[in-house]
Symmetry: D3
Subunit: 247 residues, 6 copies
């Protein structure tokens, strides 16, 4: 089977990671998975943590995900205009935050925060996995900034994360679904893994028929390979080995 864009089932879309896309942010990345473009901006808040964390000596990392209204084929109303954040936005913001927190030793980080804003400029499937993959690089740059500015002394980055979507389309397991594939997938799974190949998050959903253990295994195999390739691209973009990769 050939995919609509000519890829093999186990092939990622072209992935590019452009660092320092913004002038002001302590770390910023424009990440592209094919036509999906997400701008990831990391803000360091030195000496500031959420109220429930004050006095703990521990840092915090959080993320906010959003889409520009016309990132998609039809315009969606702004959540600021609606006056509330939708369930999907909440869910993805929480997912990105959890993934990034798996990379950080909060004791070494000290009572400082990093907020990663992931704004989807253009969407073509896989926005959350592109966001996580790009956000890690922005996080790494923000951590480097903290160390250069002596906001924290040691290296709080202990792991890296990348993420990819996999799914079953017409009974075939595919890696890194584009929007056209995503809407017809029977099963859709997002997998977040460390650079060392361990799982941070597995979220699989039967959109059509429920799936068996064999299909689940096939999807996990695809995702494992895809995340490894993404980790390689992240390392290349950063120009150094990823933390926790054992390299």
């Amino acid at each position: 089977m050939t995919r609509s864009d000519g890829r093999r089932p186990d092939q990622l879309r072209p992935v590019t990671i452009t660092r320092n896309w913004l002038a002001h942010a302590e770390g910023s990345v424009l990440v592209e998975f094919g036509a999906t473009k997400v701008l990831c901006a990391a803000t360091v808040e030195a000496g500031n943590v959420p109220r429930w964390r004050k006095g703990s000596g521990l840092g915090w990392v959080t993320a906010e995900y959003a889409m520009l209204p016309r990132a998609t084929g039809t315009r969606s109303e702004r959540e600021s205009v609606k006056g509330k954040i939708g369930g999907r936005t909440h869910e993805i913001s929480r997912l990105i935050g959890r993934a990034l927190r798996a990379c950080v030793d909060f004791k070494v980080m000290g009572e400082n925060s990093i907020i990663i804003d992931c704004d989807v400029l253009q969407a073509d499937g896989g926005t959350r996995t592109a966001a996580i993959t790009g956000a890690f690089v922005a996080l790494a740059d923000a951590v480097a900034w903290m160390r250069a500015n002596e906001v924290c002394l040691g290296d709080p980055l202990v792991n890296s994360v990348s993420a990819v979507s996999v799914g079953i389309v017409g009974s075939e397991p595919l890696l890194d679904l584009c929007y056209e594939e995503d809407v017809v997938a029977e099963t859709d799974m997002n997998v977040v893994m460390t650079g060392a190949g361990a799982f941070v998050e597995v979220q699989g959903t039967a959109e059509g028929a429920p799936f068996g253990r064999d299909q689940l295994n096939a999807l996990l195999d695809l995702a494992t390979a895809g995340c490894a390739e993404l980790a390689r691209i992240q390392a290349e973009a950063l120009g150094r080995d990823l933390p926790g990769s054992g390299a």
Copy 2:
């Protein structure tokens, strides 16, 4: 290893499903997983579907999850008072809705809606999985009501779902975590399965260290057995074979 409440690692808490707990709802269930108590109320809205579904001839099933303020050890502020729904509430409501929709043939259901309200009266871990397990039974009763009242003619229920949490605590995989176990789990996974043993949703998160493929497999094994036992309890509560179970 013995668990704090004396269970074996692969043992569910005592599960009870009380049907017709409410007088008004078309289906209602009080489901208990140990000390976790969730009231599931199914409302049939005959002839009504969301706007984007009107004229399609298809039905709809949705769910809303919430916790009473003092369901937990410390009181949490009401979301109605805060004026907005939190990310966790959104996320769980969406999860329950997806799980239930996996059970329904919307063409047979016709342009009618069922809303399942899952209100946690008391929380001791596993509220979302208890909610799904109970909500399915309330859904089945609401569907029976629809058929008895000729709101729909055929049987739209094509599958059943139950759900259970699994996790790794002190390196050991455990089934159906109570709150005390949940807060110390390194990995936490919620699994939704059909009565026939296929996956509808798998959501695993590394709370502490990332997890390997072997651990993932051990958790999936535990969840598969747990969901099968829950399906048996659902069938017993309903007094009949579950749809799609091949029985």
Copy 3:
């Protein structure tokens, strides 16, 4: 005249008060007036009072009333989903709070708060009066907890309250209206009284024709007898004389 459920005009519905319905709350009661079921949970916040009360040495008691969406014959939208609390909810929460505060010596209570959550699980008329009657018992248990835990030293409970609805249906004054009677009542009155028989709150509204002084007097007579009977049931549930009852 016989009422739809066979009661005499001056007869309460069967009233049950189940204490300790919840595991976590410092006081909790499931109160039932016929088919009306309200869960009252009292939370003690030791050392915490609203901002405007800090430093005063005085305590505070407040209440929040809400209905589950399917407590009623047709489902009502959640106020958390609407993003705001309706006028009726506000009004009843304020009424319950005022009633409970009439029972407390805030100086003896010290700078501590008690919040009573009254969640209607099932509604069949008289939810606010059932809530007040049950909430007092939950309050008494929470106060006992405070004393046992030495959060406050003396006994801050100086009065008890119970409440009942009365109304004129088909020209006849009736005690404790069920929903069916409530919707056709010409006049509807809620009365909150102490165990010693004094008035804490009287709220009467002409739903149909305005009412005369004689009718008002007949309703007050019914309510006085009804509240006395409810006070007796409260004392029985608590297993002791009510504060301020002179017993």
Copy 4:
């Protein structure tokens, strides 16, 4: 006993009702009870009723109460800025609406609405009772406008209402409390009566000690006389007998 402003216990403050205070509204009144000033503006919405009333052939009357931020001694934040309406505002708006609806035959009114906006320009106690008393006159003018413009044919006004506060201050029952008296009252009651002397609403609250039946009776006597005097002032302002007054 002499009151702070020299009044007798059973004496109203000077009451003035200025009709046609606004150019645009179909009825408008500036009502003053001493230093309390409320602007009541009636808007006729011909051919429009709330959705749940459409097709019924019946009209509707509703009210909205609000205070300007500096109506009071210290400035209060705007509810529009807070983004939500407080419980007190909700409660009073609902009270005014109920009181006015007691005056109207909705069948004669036809499917038309009247909205009465009661904005407190200056507050010195009794704002809700002044609002009801003034709003009735604005309603009467709006109804006259409807008849003059043939929006409705017969006369839908079947009753009049006025309202007054009464309370117990230092053990003495007083009529029409000013702010200074209101804050120290042990019991506070608002009474709405028709021009013919029947009760539309009675709302009494023990702010300090609970009150007995005798005190309740004394307050009702005061209120009855006060409302009768207010009805006389309303009739004078309108230059005609009040509807339902039997005159």
Copy 5:
């Protein structure tokens, strides 16, 4: 050309400024530009400034503008009921605040705030310019109050402001548009000037055809004369020379 109300093109409507309209506010003015009536209430918050200004030694002045629902020919929904403030309200509140801040030396004022509430009781065009013109007088009275009460020692008022609208109607430049003129104006401009004749704010908008430099100049000439006349009326109302006027 004669205008609908008989004025010359360069003629203001009758302007009246009534000081001390409210009992509680530190400064209050009812300002009328023809049928437009705005109530301006100044509140002094001694020792309080916005958070971002604390510790600066500097004061702050801000304004809030709003319209009563029936200030206009057709009723508009309350912003408190809608739960949010509209763009027009925001914009005008900000404009009034900026205009008033141009009058104040914040160092002399010290860390104190003044809030000016401008509530439109009746609207007939020019509500924002009437509000600014009246608000200045309320501000001057509030400042006098501060000095009399030794909240600040020196005189922080260094300028005065007044404002007027100008516009092009049927190709003719007109001063101080009423509503009837405003809705048909091709160009609409609001001009805020000091008593000494300098510009504080110029906001011109082409509602129909874009306008040329000549038309802009003609409008500025009209506004300059109009503001000078308004400054004279302000001085008369205050009974003294305006600050910064060089008199």
Copy 6:
């Protein structure tokens, strides 16, 4: 005087207009004024207009302006998270909408809408004027799309608009302020002009000392020249003469 970035007082920053920056939108432009980057996306809603415009035969154009959280030197909280839109956002959205509507003949456009989303990716002063200048080009592309797809038949574009900021810094009038200049400007003015050199909007504010007529004239001269240059750049980007330019 030389400016911080070496420009002459009457010199624009480098301006680039990149068309078709997004794949989905009917018109899209990335506009850059120096380091200020705004993404303008035009959405055509064929056959749809706001409710108050339905049945009029007339079209509508509106705009929404927003900033990404880290467009600026310090991160600002998302308006979607705050649950409301701020005054500045409202004001600028309204300004852009008015400017664009000055370009369109709504009768020729027919009952169709265009929404222009202007999202600031990076801010360095002049975001609103860059937005207007870019939004016009996106609008022109969206109109071309409408004509190509026969959504409207004639050409509804009758004017072009561009916009620039001017201000007085250290007594000197400057064109196109960057952020560093903007924060110290005594007077700040935004001017919107047609390609033919007429004014659509003039908004000048004294941030420090009020300004005289001479200064106003000097600023208008600068703006007139700046807008003409921007119109030239727009024409170049579009590859054709601007509508209404008389060319």
